[in-house]
């Protein structure tokens, strides 16, 4: 499989695990779920995902240049 580069943006309580707008090299067609595991983010917790500004499911395959945002629920009010 070809290596491909995506940009990962972490939000809220996930921020601080790595730099903002971190470039991550993955295998082409890897899914969001496998990237979550690669980043050691709790796969059991609930997140909202977006790819290139569109809400996406965890089984969405990622491609070169994609921007993945991972948004946990937050509740500060």
């Amino acid at each position: 499989m070809n290596a491909t580069t995506i940009t990962v943006k972490l939000f809220g309580t996930l921020r601080g695990r790595m730099e903002s707008d971190q470039k991550v090299i993955i295998s082409d067609n890897e899914t969001i779920h496998t990237v979550i595991e690669r980043l050691s983010i709790d796969p059991q917790a609930w997140y909202l995902f977006s790819v290139n500004g569109q809400q996406a499911g965890g089984d969405t395959q990622l491609h070169d240049g994609d921007v993945l945002m991972i948004v946990p629920p937050i509740s500060g009010g």
Binding site: A45, V71, I74, G77
Partner: protein, 258 residues
């Protein structure tokens, strides 16, 4: 029901916003004849309540349990130092009436629950979700879907915040997007800078005004996310979950209150 008119005093007080492009006296009259439920009068919801009041909303229902503490004062702009130990909804009402005496303010020193939320939202035109915990947000969302009341959802953590508006049956509800809460969330422990919760509260007030009056384009089926540490703003398209246990079965046959 009698539709209120703008008095000469109203026209003078609101003349600067009545010159907003596309904003008319009809929008202002809708605002004057509307009720907003504000769940939480802390750093976010208190700011929303204040800006809705000075914009000319007719009635506010403020729901928030507990008394003021010193550590609330870095963000809760309706509170003052001399009120520590007093009930927060009493303080909020006093401040709002000092600034906008014509607004009807009804207060409830309670938490939002699955049992009481429906009664709070049933006569509101819009609900603002600003409680610092998931159970109260879920209870409000459930009640808003049940009564087809539009809801403004906004939350923050540290220097991040997100915001979206819900039109039940048409756009994703809170549960469509967040099936499960963060079990590690600590209601009284999240980091917060008052200026950030203030920005979110202001934007939630603008969303509420848009939803009530029909002015502008609310964040329906869109979520605004921002970080004020690096001033990164983005919007993502969000979608209803047809299998959502809260709103999935909602068959929209009539318009929502707005």
């Amino acid at each position: 029901m009698m539709i209120p008119q703008l008095s000469d005093k109203d026209s003078e007080r609101f003349k600067r916003q009545l010159t907003l492009s596309g904003y008319t006296k009809d929008h202002q009259i809708k605002l004057k004849s509307s009720t907003a439920l504000i769940a939480g009068v802390g750093g976010v919801g208190g700011t929303t309540a204040l800006y809705l009041a000075i914009a000319g909303i007719g009635r506010l229902k403020l729901v928030h349990s507990g008394v003021l503490t010193s550590s609330n004062l870095n963000r809760q702009i309706l509170m003052t130092e001399g009120w520590i130990g007093k009930t927060r909804v009493d303080c909020a009402k006093a401040t709002i009436h000092r600034i906008a005496s014509g607004v009807q303010v009804d207060i409830y020193d309670e938490r939002m629950t699955m049992d009481n939320s429906a009664a709070f939202v049933s006569d509101a035109n819009v609900a603002v979700s600003a409680r610092p915990n998931f159970p109260e947000r879920c209870a409000l969302n459930m009640a808003c879907v049940q009564h087809k009341i539009p809801m403004i959802e906004g939350a923050m953590f540290d220097m991040d915040a997100y915001l979206f508006s819900i039109r039940p049956g048409y756009t994703p509800c809170f549960h469509c997007l967040f099936k499960d809460a963060d079990s590690r969330w600590q209601e009284l422990e999240f980091p917060v800078l008052g200026a950030l919760s203030g920005t979110l509260g202001c934007m939630m007030a603008i969303e509420a005004i848009k939803v009530i009056t029909g002015y502008g384009q609310p964040l329906f089926s869109r979520m605004l996310l921002y970080n004020l540490s690096n001033m990164d703003f983005s919007t993502i398209a969000i979608h209803r979950d047809p299998a959502c246990p809260v709103c999935g079965a909602l068959q929209v046959t009539e318009g929502v209150k707005a």
